[in-house]
């Protein structure tokens, strides 16, 4: 494993940090939970693909088509080894949202009698801390099929209440879909434990890895899950590319969700058969340059070492939690200890709306997310309309957190609370 990195050195790889922000401040980017910034390697990889290799992959008999296909499939290989997967089980989508919708739609397309069929009376189990992207596709699937939704409650510390897990995940349960790490609370869920309960009743386990895959080592084999969705853009990769991983048997047994070019084996005017995965689930010319960019992103993360990224995240989070605990009139929404907790801190400031907190922070170059974070039910659970959220990543350091804390203090003074 490589030696732990210096975030100040890392920042030099990211051109955006030369930006001058409002109030003539430097950029203190604490919004990686929404999207990460991109290193030069990723930007170069995308540009180079367009400048030197651009052609539609898996078609064409020319040199460019060969090179484009090799670059695209090379990216798939990189992503596969990054998550401990077989290369043919990695599907490129446009986003994690599309990945999750693809699972829901594919299951909904199942032929009658198939083990993947979702019927009236079946149950889909979620949690209250899901991002809308891992809630609404299942809500809609339930509405289309007559299946029922059930969910894990979140307790006041922002942890899942697992006390009723075996009643919740009952024999009628077909799908358990859960986030690995809450984008609001930072809570890291006991995935393997819940996946094992799901498997006992024959249910499929879907993991939303948007906040985990970019931040700590994630291995699909050792987690014991059936599906994984994550996005490229939160993992220093480009926008427009996401990943869907599934066990090979599921990809073989499930129906496709998008139909068209590339995904077929043979076609007549009245019928078509499907290519094997991953092509079966990649209709149309894919987002090639973005996939190649994601390959470069994965290289970048592996060069730093994911264990190092995780250790760095933890160091920052520990430091921030300590600083936050000394603030008066500021309440953390989520776990206050470091155990099973990622680099996301949501907080409310008494007497100041999150939008106004974010606006004052912006004046000092501090970029945070404010609002409901696409987790409206969770906000209602905590009886709030929104939070201010600071999320940390490999280019952040202690000084960023000091500036954040100072800026919160300034917001309190500005609004006289």
């Amino acid at each position: 494993m490589s030696k732990k990195f210096d975030p100040v050195e890392v920042r030099k790889d990211f051109p955006i940090f030369s930006k001058v922000m409002r109030g003539n401040s430097g950029l203190v980017y604490l919004d990686s939970g929404a999207t990460s910034q991109k290193p030069r390697e990723v930007l170069d990889a995308e540009r180079e693909f367009y400048e030197k290799n651009n052609a539609a992959v898996h078609r064409g008999s020319h040199l460019l088509a060969e090179e484009a296909s090799a670059a695209y499939e090379g990216a798939r290989q990189k992503v596969a080894s990054f998550i401990g997967a077989n290369v043919d089980d990695v599907i490129f989508t446009k986003s994690a949202t599309e990945s999750l919708n693809a699972i829901a739609y594919s299951l909904g397309n199942s032929k009658s009698g198939s083990r993947y069929e979702i019927k009236s009376g079946d149950r889909i189990v979620l949690s209250e801390m899901e991002h809308h992207a891992n809630l609404i596709p299942w809500q809609q699937l339930a509405k289309r099929t007559g299946a029922e939704l059930a969910w894990f409650d979140v307790d006041s510390n922002g942890r899942l209440d697992l006390s009723n897990a075996s009643e919740l995940i009952n024999s009628r349960t077909k799908i358990v879909a859960l986030t690995h790490q809450s984008n609001v609370l930072g809570t890291i869920n006991p995935v393997s434990e819940i996946a094992a309960i799901a498997h006992k009743v024959g249910a499929l386990f879907v993991l939303d890895g948007c906040q985990s895959v970019p931040h700590f080592p994630v291995n699909v084999q050792s987690l014991g899950i059936d599906f994984l969705a994550f996005s490229g853009h939160k993992a220093v990769g480009p926008t427009g590319v996401g990943v869907l991983w599934a066990k090979a048997e599921h990809l073989a047994g499930m129906e496709p969700f998008l139909f068209g070019g590339s995904m077929i084996e043979s076609v007549t005017m009245t019928n078509a058969t499907w290519a094997p995965a991953p092509r079966k689930f990649e209709a149309g010319v894919p987002n090639m340059a973005q996939a190649v960019g994601l390959g470069a992103a994965v290289d970048y993360l592996q060069k730093l070492g994911m264990a190092n990224v995780a250790a760095h995240d933890e160091e920052l989070t520990g430091y921030a939690l300590e600083k936050f605990s000394a603030l008066s009139g500021v309440r953390i929404i989520g776990p206050k200890d470091l155990k099973d907790r990622g680099a996301v801190i949501s907080f409310v400031v008494d007497g100041i709306h999150p939008h106004d907190v974010g606006q004052v922070l912006d004046q000092y170059g501090v970029a945070v997310r404010t609002g409901h974070h696409c987790a409206w039910p969770l906000m209602k659970k905590f009886g709030i309309t929104g939070t201010t959220r600071a999320s940390f990543y490999l280019y952040n350091d202690f000084q960023d957190i000091d500036i954040l804390i100072d800026s919160i203090d300034r917001a309190q003074k500005y609004f006289k609370v």
């Binding site: 109030g23 709306h353 939008h355 609004f415």
Partner: protein, 148 residues
């Protein structure tokens, strides 16, 4: 500081002491508007009588900009006939879309000119318009009901 152009004292005053923020029982229309990007919500009751805004009251949660803007709006439109209220609304909407190029006509907009700075912060324009759009909707619904 740039921030001061956004948060003028009059805005902070309205935020701390919002006007007409207490839902009145009688109304010709009640509307509920949300800002889906931030989760802010407002319920607004309006009483339209003889072509006039005879009563207006509201409740809701939101940032200083949305709360102050709504408070200022209620002061501006209460007692006005619908046409002049809509002229003020038009003037205010123009101001919000001016990207910082207009300062607003104080004769028409009174306290609402304090919100001129909002137009330089694109993410906040929706906050400032939340209450105003609710007002517009409520008037139109009242007109429908009253058959005007």
């Amino acid at each position: 500081m740039e921030l001061d152009s956004l948060y003028q004292q009059v805005i902070l005053d309205h935020y701390k002491n919002p006007k007409h923020k207490n839902l009145n029982e009688s109304y010709t229309a009640q509307v509920h508007h949300v800002n889906p990007s931030c989760g802010d919500e407002i319920t607004l009751n309006i009483q339209v009588q003889a072509g006039k805004v005879a009563g207006i009251s509201w409740d809701g949660v939101g940032c200083s900009i949305s709360q102050a803007s709504t408070s200022i709006m209620t002061e501006l439109v209460l007692g006005k006939d619908i046409d002049s209220a809509f002229e003020i609304l038009g003037e205010f909407t123009d101001l919000m879309q001016s990207k910082g190029t207009k300062s607003g006509d104080e004769e028409v907009l009174e306290d609402a000119v304090a919100l001129a700075g909002v137009s330089k912060f694109p993410a906040r324009i929706k906050c400032a318009l939340l209450g105003w759009m609710a007002f517009k909707d409520a008037v139109l619904q009242s007109k429908d009901k009253l058959g005007e």
